[in-house]
Symmetry: C2
Subunit: 426 residues, 2 copies
């Protein structure tokens, strides 16, 4: 049986989960995969954590050189998160010929090329299934199952916190603030929720996933990003009337060789497979020119689900004779600006408040018409003096919507433009 | 660039789709995977098909020896379906050291051990992603992404024809016969629909998938099988009232080291992720002890989706230095009878017709009670003289239900037991 020596950098949630899987499922993995996984070194300042997990304290320390200089360690799994010291430690490990397995989406999104170069130099492997959508095997699917496909689009609910909040708002009519508070109380959201609710976390993931899908580097800076804090229960309720469900999606599309990549709240049809993904679950929907539509669904976070992806990568790395690199990443050949769509097309949901007087609707639709925006649905609810007016447009350019709304907001009788949310039906 | 010589056995729907993918996406695959895929031989009696696809007729024939004796052919992809001549041709190919890629679920379900043995002898690979759920990478997920998990259950909508029929019945209230007729007119069902509607196709697939999930051979004979022909629109409508959706599922569960494996119609909660899988789409839901719940969704059939899985396997086989075998398959070590659950537990939906007279409900519930079956829900609709009575039970043994119903059907006032359908909530 092949002995595989491991170092774990960090024993937080995912590091702890990984340790427990390796301990509890060791014999099953040995029997079915032919690898005897042995944790030989753990970097963790908090000894209490190590004790709680039953880690032999003699292998716990803080010195990366203990890892680098141990020839019996062939795989380093990193759980620090953030850029430093993870970046420095992993580059050192790769250059020393140790394969790296990481859940660190920020590091991969921002420093993939450096790590990939170090991996090639060290003839080591770089694996990061756990960095995107926890235990869901989306990265393995992209690299090992979609080889026959030109991927046309990838769309995902890739942040569990925001999906939990939006599901709560939809199912109980709660406000954003109250649903966020509940998510915080349950530990689904951080005290400072910005990384989740403002879409940063999702933007790291869609940058990584779209790079693999389109086989070209999609830099983080190219990801348009908008969070969910402006979404109201009212918007979600209007969407329901139109057969639409609101989700925060990471979206990347390839159209005529140009990429359109973004994270923002979006209305999708109730019958779209992503619409039924509830609570803290995640899912990624792909369209390939051969495979058609596929979707992968599961837990995007958590100690054991993410640990499952980490251990899968460890086994994959340990049993591969040859590592697979992503040449587009470390070639430094980023797409030039022409490779990205600047003014993308979408349908739009627009909610505004207007004075309840005759001729308002005609005035506003005519302003849309001037920008060649046609309207599919309009709803006006009864009110006193001021009334809400909700439009859904046909597909149009972002720039046209902006121009039209800039004019409309200044019109006599228009009180406010309350929300503008994209609608995607494909 | 590594040249990879291929033989295609058959140019039917999936063979043709595979040929088109290899032709159309050849350069993309070469660039990103480093393999130059070349079709060097095609076995197909129908020359017209070959012509239509633009295959060079000089490579088209019917003689397997032309494949076996060509040292430039390293991978054989089979699309004949059925047992012979596929079995003989593939064993010959494997023994000659050529890796085999196949979509043939019946062959894998019935002769996996022979093929696996031949593969080992020939130091060749055996790949069959396309045999289960078309383009959905469920086999790669089980073998390359779930290594860290004890799989606790696998449940799937793994037959598109029956899912199309059940979706039609649910959404338009059509009868089974009329929905089947529509599926036949659209080409989703065969003139003789038995392989699909009686659950044979699904039983091949659940035998393969559960073997991989539980890392032990689950022989086809152990799969309990029941089709959808007894399902009525009335049953589906009653289910709706209880928040339940009817699906034909392949189900395999591991409980206390014993396997429970079956194909039958089953009511699942409307909010279960499998419930929203509509029309001819397929999906497989897994529970692992680390990963928790995951689901993969997509097209289970069709030329390009299944071709996508075939080409993925071809690339996987071409780039592996070392093939992965399933030792449980060719060891001949089938589980003994004790390894399987004979009397499985489930909740039950029971619809019967009774005379509308007082005391009937008490008599029937008391008969259930004698078998320790407790009832969660009962519905009685108004009628004249005879009325429908619908029960949902708590979890109970199959054998208890049979005993109870054998008594009830003979009771005075009971006209008929109209349907008995399992209910699974997990």
């Amino acid at each position: 049986m092949k002995k595989v020596g491991l170092a774990l950098l960090g024993l937080g949630t995912v590091g702890g989960g990984t340790y427990r899987i390796i301990k509890n499922n060791h014999d099953m993995i040995a029997k079915s995969e032919g690898v005897d996984l042995q944790v030989l070194c753990v970097l963790e300042k908090n000894e209490a954590r190590a004790k709680e997990l039953g880690v032999d304290l003699s292998i716990v320390g803080t010195d990366i050189d203990k890892v680098i200089n141990n020839p019996e360690i062939s795989i380093v799994a990193e759980f620090f998160g953030g850029i430093e010291p993870a970046r420095t430690f992993l580059i050192k490990s790769l250059l020393a010929g140790k394969s790296v397995v990481t859940a660190n989406k920020e590091l991969i999104a921002k420093h993939w090329h450096e790590l990939e170069e170090a991996a090639k130099k060290g003839k080591a492997g770089l694996y990061f299934e756990a960095s995107c959508v926890g235990g869901v095997p989306i990265i393995r699917t992209l690299t090992e199952s979609m080889q026959a496909n030109n991927i046309l689009s990838i769309k995902g609910i890739i942040n569990g916190t925001t999906n939990y909040i939006l599901t709560k708002m939809a199912e109980s009519g709660q406000s954003y603030e109250s649903a966020l508070k509940e998510a915080q109380d349950l530990g689904y959201a951080e005290a400072d929720p910005s990384a989740d609710v403002d879409g940063y976390d999702a933007s790291y993931k869609i940058s990584i996933l779209s790079s693999l899908a389109f086989r070209t580097k999609v830099p983080l800076e190219k990801v348009y990003r908008e969070g969910i804090s402006k979404v109201t229960a009212e918007d979600i309720a209007y969407g329901k009337e139109f057969g639409l469900t609101l989700k925060l999606l990471g979206i990347a599309k390839m159209t005529d060789g140009k990429i359109d990549v973004r994270v923002h709240p979006v209305f999708i049809p109730d019958l779209h497979p992503l619409a039924s993904v509830r609570g803290s679950f995640n899912a990624v929907h792909l369209v390939g020119d051969a495979v058609g539509d596929i979707m992968l669904y599961g837990r995007g976070a958590g100690d054991l689900p993410t640990g499952s992806a980490i251990v899968s990568d460890i086994v994959f790395a340990a049993t591969k004779k040859k590592h697979k690199y992503s040449p587009f990443v470390n070639s430094g050949k980023h797409l030039t600006d022409q490779g990205f769509i600047k003014d993308f097309k979408s349908e739009y949901y627009i909610r505004m408040t207007v004075n309840d007087k005759s001729g308002m609707l005609a005035k506003i639709t005519s302003a849309f018409g001037k920008q060649n925006i046609s309207i599919t649905t309009v709803t006006q609810k009864a009110g006193t003096d001021i009334v809400p007016l909700v439009f859904i447009t046909h597909e149009t350019y972002e720039s046209s919507i902006k121009k039209a709304l800039a004019g409309i907001v200044k019109s006599d009788g228009v009180v406010s433009i309350d929300n503008v949310i994209r609608v995607e039906r494909d």
